[in-house]
């Protein structure tokens, strides 16, 4: 998939086959990468558990998308689920479910893993 967000072109039409078949069956990927589906599922699971209000999430998403568009007038590099993830991070840290510091610490920990590290392994600093 080579969607560019270019405002001047019509490249976003690439996946407009538009069949009413079940998703996937019409050849269109609902998610372009596993992390996108994970980000989607985490937001729905948090809402399902009553941890976040969907309208709060929507407002965070609107803000995230608006900021991205203001910073990228050409539309180049657009990825919807990066905005989705960014708004989820903001909402979760804003509501204190996970503080920004905790999130950053975990990111540092994961980023420092040697290549090929088992993703499921839970390790902490002593």
């Amino acid at each position: 998939m080579t969607l560019s967000g270019g405002h001047a072109d019509a490249s976003y039409l690439l996946d407009s086959a538009g069949s009413a078949a079940p998703p996937r069956d019409n050849g269109e990927l609902v998610f372009a990468a596993p992390w996108e589906s994970q980000a989607f599922g985490v937001a729905l699971a948090l809402h399902d558990a009553g941890c976040i209000d969907w309208e709060d999430f929507r407002q965070a998403l609107i803000r995230e998308i608006g900021e991205w568009e203001a910073a990228h007038p050409s539309g180049e590099g657009w990825n919807y689920y990066e905005c989705w993830l960014g708004s989820l991070e903001r909402l979760v840290s804003g509501t204190g479910l996970v503080t920004a510091d905790d999130l950053q610490a975990r990111l540092d920990l994961l980023a420092a893993r040697p290549a090929g590290h088992d993703h499921g392994h839970d390790h902490r600093h002593g």
Binding site: H7, S16, G18, A21, P23, A32, G77, V92
Partner: protein, 196 residues
């Protein structure tokens, strides 16, 4: 997708977030995967196609659908997140409706599933408001100049779905055969329903 350089790998960011939320007992991976599978495989535009086909064959249902979209859609068992405030817009030979969400990606999940990429794209979201006739032409829908186009901006207060025109020559079609003709794009309003 790794085409654009990013300061931090989004896969890593999702993993960090999910691992912390899981450890704190706020979410579990089974629930996350159930939601993903549901929207990858079970909820999609075939639901909306059934609503359209019923409206085409049952005038009383059509009237209920146009009067209270949410309730009439729920009659067929389609409800859930993002389907709470449904408004159904009926296309006519003189009036064509097209749906967008200019600010984010509001979309009627229970009847159409998750939105396609183009619906979320900044280009579609901004251009269909400014130059709907041109954008529709790019989708392959060349409407006569005499046809009025109305663009509807979805929000948390209202989710739109288009009731397309029933194609001529389908008088003898069953409801199921009609549903097979209906496409997602026709229910967003960037296409019309045509015979194969």
């Amino acid at each position: 997708m790794t085409s654009a350089p990013e300061p931090l790998d989004p896969a890593l960011r999702v993993e960090a977030l999910a691992s912390l939320l899981t450890e704190r007992g706020l979410i579990d991976q089974t629930t996350v995967e159930t939601f993903v599978k549901t929207y990858e495989h079970s909820v999609g535009p075939m639901n909306g196609a059934k609503v359209v086909a019923k409206a085409w064959t049952d005038p009383e249902y059509r009237a209920r659908l146009l009067a209270d979209g949410t309730a009439a859609i729920a009659e067929l068992g389609f409800k859930g997140p993002q389907g709470e405030h449904m408004v159904v817009l009926e296309n006519t030979p003189a009036l064509h409706h097209v749906v967008v969400c200019t600010l984010c990606s509001c979309y009627p999940w229970p009847v159409l599933g998750l939105p396609p990429s183009w619906y979320k794209d900044p280009a579609y979201r901004s251009r269909v408001v400014r130059e709907p006739r041109k954008v529709l032409r790019e989708f392959g829908l060349d409407l006569d100049d005499g046809v009025e186009i109305q663009v509807h901006d979805s929000s948390s207060e209202v989710r739109y779905m288009v009731l397309p025109e029933r194609p001529v020559g389908t008088e003898r079609y069953s409801e199921a055969e009609l549903a097979d003709l209906v496409t997602r794009d026709a229910m967003v309003g960037v296409a019309q329903v045509a015979l194969p």
